[in-house]
Symmetry: C2
Subunit: 188 residues, 2 copies
Amino acid sequence: MSVIDAMPDVAIQLRAAQDAFIRRWGEMGQTWGINRTMAEIHALLYITGEPLCADAVIDRLNISRGNTSMSLRGLCEYGIVRRIHRRGERREFFETHSDVWEMFSLIAAERKRREMDPVLEAIQQCQRMLDAKALGKSAAGRSDVRLTRERLAGMEEFMSVTNRVCQQFIDNARAGGSRLARLLLKAL
Amino acid sequence: MSVIDAMPDVAIQLRAAQDAFIRRWGEMGQTWGINRTMAEIHALLYITGEPLCADAVIDRLNISRGNTSMSLRGLCEYGIVRRIHRRGERREFFETHSDVWEMFSLIAAERKRREMDPVLEAIQQCQRMLDAKALGKSAAGRSDVRLTRERLAGMEEFMSVTNRVCQQFIDNARAGGSRLARLLLKAL
DNA sequence: CTATACTTTCAGTAATATCTGAAAGAACAG
DNA sequence: CTGTTCTTTCAGATATTACTGAAAGTATAG
């Protein structure tokens, strides 16, 4: 007899809805550079709302112990999942933030730090490689140099504005829940 | 004798700066779900600023003809690169938009359509699976159902606000160049 | 100390994504 | 039509990433 046979109808329906969410979230994760399993574990923790132990995750998602352990560790390192120790329990439990805004602000902060900041830095480095000091006067007239300078300038502007917008999002989300939702809708 | 030996110093320095940009852009692409080659080709077209033919790309990035052809096609389908036919030339040339804002708005529009809209739709579908009509009265008291409903509602709010913000970005960027930069900086 | 309950690690394997190069196709000139 | 030049396609090779399961590790209870 499977687990499902023992459940009342409402529980089956609940599980179906949760599974649909989990599957979608997993798919989306892939196209955003998070692997499917990690995204699914995260979705499971988010959607059930209560702390789960490793075995619950293993059973529900049909993945190996090793994979579960590594993925949970990754999620914890990212800061969007936390470990919970319960008195008198040997097992550890895991849960996500309940506030989505806070959760995404953690993700945004991490990606900004790891990916956006270094790119901006690299672009500015490229600009320095082509400034007057580095190239001398002979370069000024060259159309290829002029073109590349223009392109770098355009990208630099975009990335630095984006970075600042991102920082605003991060700061506001941390400050408090869905206050940012109202702010964003009003602003744009 | 290599290509580089024949170039004046300025050209060597220009090439070095361009290469640095291309490498970074390729790395960034990977973490955002675009493969390295595609991102590098795009970076090359962007940074040189003038239309290039397939052979120029092949020589500069050391990739195969096949890969170049497929990647260029992908970039064209995405809408961020366009083909150019020159009279009297049998070869085709390729170029990117010069306006970064417009470029990213195309990317944003495509990803919103392909990834964000379906997720929002899926979440709303999950909510319908758990509403009063679907579950009946017996479900109202269950704390697991209540929890999942709350979580779905939180996610739904986040995704729908994000979607609207995204749409605003897309509309404004299309309307005109870096006007959006000023708008964004003032708004937040 | 040993037994028990649980977690982590990691070598090996499986699955996916990416790339190449050669062959076929298309467009044009003469 | 033929020859030339360039493009596309795709089967197979390669590289990358993800996953498993068993062994080693850790913590607690007794």
